[in-house]
């Protein structure tokens, strides 16, 4: 075990993977200097500019070249700086990387890890703050991962680096400096959730930075005698349906919390999956459908807070169980 930040955990995972396999290389803007969040710190010194490749500001080419490299036998890590800039490479992600294997009948695979930091970044406004995980979950051909802790970032990045599919790897922009113990011998399987806390009254399902926000809410609720189970999905495609269903069978109540916009989001998918199979009171809580504003008063409106979660859970518990839909 070693104490690491979320960023250091990613560096450690890359260092291990690049040492073990010389086909793993990194493509991206400013990666030679360690990346804008230090998530590549020291790697250029160790592996050289041929493997930590500084690129022009050309997102379409970075992503497209990653596809070509993968088809030619490499395992590129593609750095897109922030999720918002993935828009400049959307054809390459959607039409080229995700569909290649299917469209060409399995003649080639595209084992790329596409790192695109997600979420609200303080005072960075609408074009540096999006959470678009549901866009990618909707896309056949990709794996979608959203780690919330240094341990997850280490273990899931290592798992992504040996995966033969394109992996959309969504680190959160405000988690880089968060720290925690990391066990480098711990493997976490893509698609496996973690039951962070067991509880009897309600199941909270979340991922990425909202895990920490949910934990604050759970402490407050515990003080009120409300015992909440917390599940961190970690992988959004595939996602651990069984872990969620098992918890909901026990608690009979589900609240999904995500930082992305509430409507048309992945929370709705989880709610649907559960209510199609179980009698369960199920709700989702996300951001209002507004771009993230710059002024702190506007930015605050786009955040899901622990107080909102507390209020939501209290309201759900106050509802009579006869109103629970059955199926």
């Amino acid at each position: 075990m070693a104490l690491m930040t979320y960023a250091q955990a990613a560096v450690a995972a890359l260092d291990d993977a690049m040492s073990a396999n010389d086909r793993v290389i990194v493509l991206g803007e400013d990666v030679g200097r360690g990346g804008i969040f230090a998530q590549y710190a020291g790697l250029a010194q160790k592996f050289g500019p041929d493997r930590i490749v500084d690129t022009p500001i050309s997102e379409a080419a970075i992503m497209g070249a990653g596809v070509g490299m993968a088809l030619a036998g490499m395992r590129p890590v593609i750095e897109l700086r922030v999720t918002d800039f993935a828009m400049c490479a959307m054809d390459e992600i959607v039409n080229q990387a995700a569909k290649n294997r299917y469209m060409f009948g399995g003649q080639g695979t595209v084992p790329v890890v596409v790192r695109m930091p997600m979420g609200i970044w303080d005072a960075s406004a609408a074009q540096h703050s999006q959470s678009l995980e549901n866009w990618f979950v909707h896309l056949p051909g990709v794996v979608v991962v959203a780690p919330s802790t240094p341990q997850d970032n280490y273990s899931l990045l290592k798992a992504a680096l040996v995966c033969d599919d394109p992996v959309i790897f969504l680190e959160h922009k405000t988690l880089w400096a968060s720290s925690g113990e990391v066990d480098t011998s711990l493997d976490i399987e893509l698609g496996k959730a973690e039951v962070v806390r067991t509880g009897e009254h309600l199941t909270l399902v979340t991922w990425s930075r909202q895990r920490q926000v949910c934990q604050q809410a759970i402490e407050e609720l515990a003080n009120q005698g409300i015992d909440v189970e917390l599940i961190d999905l970690k992988s959004l495609w595939p996602w651990d349906k069984e872990a969620v269903l098992q918890s909901c069978r026990k608690t009979g109540r589900l609240l999904v919390v995500h930082e992305s916009v509430q409507v048309g989001g992945f929370g709705a998918e989880i709610v649907s999956t559960v209510v199609e199979r179980l009698p369960c009171q199920a709700r989702r809580l996300g951001a209002p459908r507004i771009p993230v504003g710059y002024a702190s008063e506007l930015e605050a409106l786009a955040r899901v807070t622990s107080q909102q979660i507390v209020d939501y859970v209290q309201r759900m518990l106050a509802q009579h169980t006869d109103q629970v839909p059955t199926s």
């Binding site: 690129t55 022009p56 080419a61 070509g68 060409f104 794996v143 698609g191």
Partner: protein, 324 residues
């Protein structure tokens, strides 16, 4: 060239009535369904360039990719099966004409998005360089692609890293149903490449010997490690944008002039001026191509369609089939 022409003519015939675009109805008779983008009249570019490539070299292609695929060495029968949507097709019926590919001969795929093959080619060439291979990548793209961002991004990338890639502009003068000249500022692909200090050669794309010689020099230079080069071939799209597009928006005299410059006719005439030339050799080439395409059509016709269950395979490994 003759094999490509035979393939295009047969594919066009098999597609008749099968595309509901430009206001036309489908009849359901078509054996080749959906949009079919023909390279009739452009055969000299594919043949002249691919003659210098081995199966270890890569190519990426456009939505008009049959010629490149055949010239790179792909099996005609499996290509026709793919166009017919049959199980024996290169992609198991998942790709059709627009996504024709044969990775086993280094043909990394036709592409339904204009210019999208360019960064993929650059990445393949970058991998070849890193891996220390003696191989190169040839990247075919159309004249319309030079107005998309990936064109600029790819040329810049290739030049910055001095990659072993030959960009081949197959300039057929038409961007879908609009003349490219009306939509592109400046003198085209070669001029834009030169602005990045990439050596560019312009050649008559209907003269197969001219393409062959120019490509030979450029391929040798790229293979030697001289960095990326660009070959700008000027040819003509004889057919419409897709097979059912009669291209009524064009001046008929423009097409007549192009037909008079048919690359196959030109090559035939040129060959016959050479000492010792024998017309029967050419006739035999055409007869062989006809026999090959007839066999390919018959096989594709008789071949089974894909099992619908195969729709759930080759999507991804992790999480594949989870919600089948």
């Amino acid at each position: 060239m003759v094999r490509i022409r035979a393939f295009e003519d047969a594919a066009e015939d098999a597609s008749q009535g099968g595309v509901a675009v430009y206001g036309q109805a489908t009849s359901g008779r078509a054996k080749v369904r959906g949009p079919l983008h023909l390279s009739t009249g452009q055969e000299a570019v594919a043949a002249g360039v691919c003659a210098h490539l081995t199966a270890n070299d890569y190519i990426t292609s456009t939505h008009r990719g049959h010629g490149h695929t055949l010239a790179k060495g792909a099996d005609m029968t499996r290509m026709m099966c793919e166009l017919f949507g049959k199980a024996h097709g290169f992609n198991g019926g998942r790709g059709g004409s627009m996504h024709i590919a044969d990775f086993s001969v280094g043909m990394l795929g036709a592409n339904g998005v204009v210019g999208a093959g360019m960064p993929i080619a650059v990445g393949a060439a970058h991998a070849q360089k890193i891996q220390g291979r003696p191989d190169i990548t040839a990247c075919f793209f159309g004249d319309g692609a030079i107005n998309r961002g990936p064109f600029l991004e790819s040329l810049n990338w290739a030049q910055v890293y001095r990659l072993p890639v030959l960009f081949v502009c197959e300039d057929n003068q038409w961007s879908a149903t609009t003349a490219t000249s009306a939509m592109s500022a400046g003198a085209g692909a070669a001029a834009r490449a030169r602005s990045m200090d990439i050596e560019a050669v312009e050649v008559d794309g209907n003269d197969v010997l001219a393409v062959y010689r120019a490509a030979q020099e450029l391929v040798n230079s790229v293979r030697k490690g001289d960095g990326p080069k660009l070959l700008h071939t000027r040819t003509y799209r004889v057919k419409g944008h897709v097979s059912v597009d009669k291209a009524a928006y064009r001046n008929p005299s423009e097409v007549e002039q192009a037909l008079a410059r048919c690359p196959i006719k030109k090559a035939r005439a040129l060959y016959l001026t050479m000492p010792g030339a024998r017309a029967d050799v050419l006739d035999q080439i055409e007869a062989d191509a006809q026999a090959e395409i007839e066999a390919a059509l018959a096989y594709a016709d008789a071949c089974d369609p894909p099992d619908p269950e195969t729709a759930y395979t080759h999507i991804q490994t992790v999480g594949a089939g989870q919600w089948h």
